[in-house]
């Protein structure tokens, strides 16, 4: 485990680390905004008027900024890091697509109905797993 963490630390150039930090800030802000907006709207603290739409648009704006900062990170990334990201995205996208297609059949057979956002969770989890696997493949046991 220690060798994997060490190799992860060596996977980023200073520029990658800076761009990743910006992405993390926006993605955390977008997630918080989404959670707060959902709670407020569900609990009816906020109606569907201007405030409700304002919160929804704020979440949308923050999500777009997070998406844009990820593209900046990816375009400027070290070439091996780009490959690692590609493998992570491929696994995430593939797992999400398989899940979406197959679960619809399971739903028809009586499996519990899922929320439309659930495949996104599968994608995100497998994206992270894919990055971890690729990072291990290219970096485990790296010397200093």
């Amino acid at each position: 485990m220690a060798s994997i963490l060490a190799s992860c630390a060596g996977a980023y150039t200073p520029k990658d680390r800076y761009n990743l930090r910006i992405f993390n800030v926006w993605i955390i802000a977008a997630a918080l905004s989404f959670a707060i907006a959902t709670l407020l709207i569900k609990a009816r603290y906020v109606d569907t008027g201007v405030l409700g739409w304002g919160l929804a648009l704020l979440t949308l704006g923050l999500s777009i900024l997070a998406f844009r900062s990820y593209l900046v990170f990816l375009r400027g990334a070290d070439e091996l890091l780009r490959r690692i990201q590609l493998e992570g995205l491929a696994l995430g996208f593939g797992a999400g697509a398989v899940f979406m297609l197959s679960y619809r059949l399971f739903e028809r057979l009586g499996a519990p109905k899922l929320d439309s956002g659930d495949p996104f969770v599968v994608m995100a989890v497998f994206w992270a797993i894919g990055q971890f696997i690729a990072m291990r493949r290219y970096g485990a046991g790296a010397e200093r």
């Binding site: 060596g10 150039t13 070290d78 091996l80 290219y138 790296a142 010397e143």
Partner: protein
Amino acid sequence: MNNRVRELRGTRGWSQGDLAERLGVSRQTVNAIETGKYDPSLPLAFSIAALFTLTIEEIFHPNGSGVAPRSTRPENRDFID
């Protein structure tokens, strides 16, 4: 793809981090190239060759060939030189 990056780096006394900094890549990239887990892009291969003042063929050669590239074989040296 086999390569001599580790050997060349060793002769200069550089760490992987030193070489990575000179090439503008991560230390993991240098490690992955040295261990043969990753083949560099053409621009990066050119940068490595330029840094060691060698040609790409003198640093990288196909897997398992174990044969020096044509241009570096002694029998071709006279013709080239």
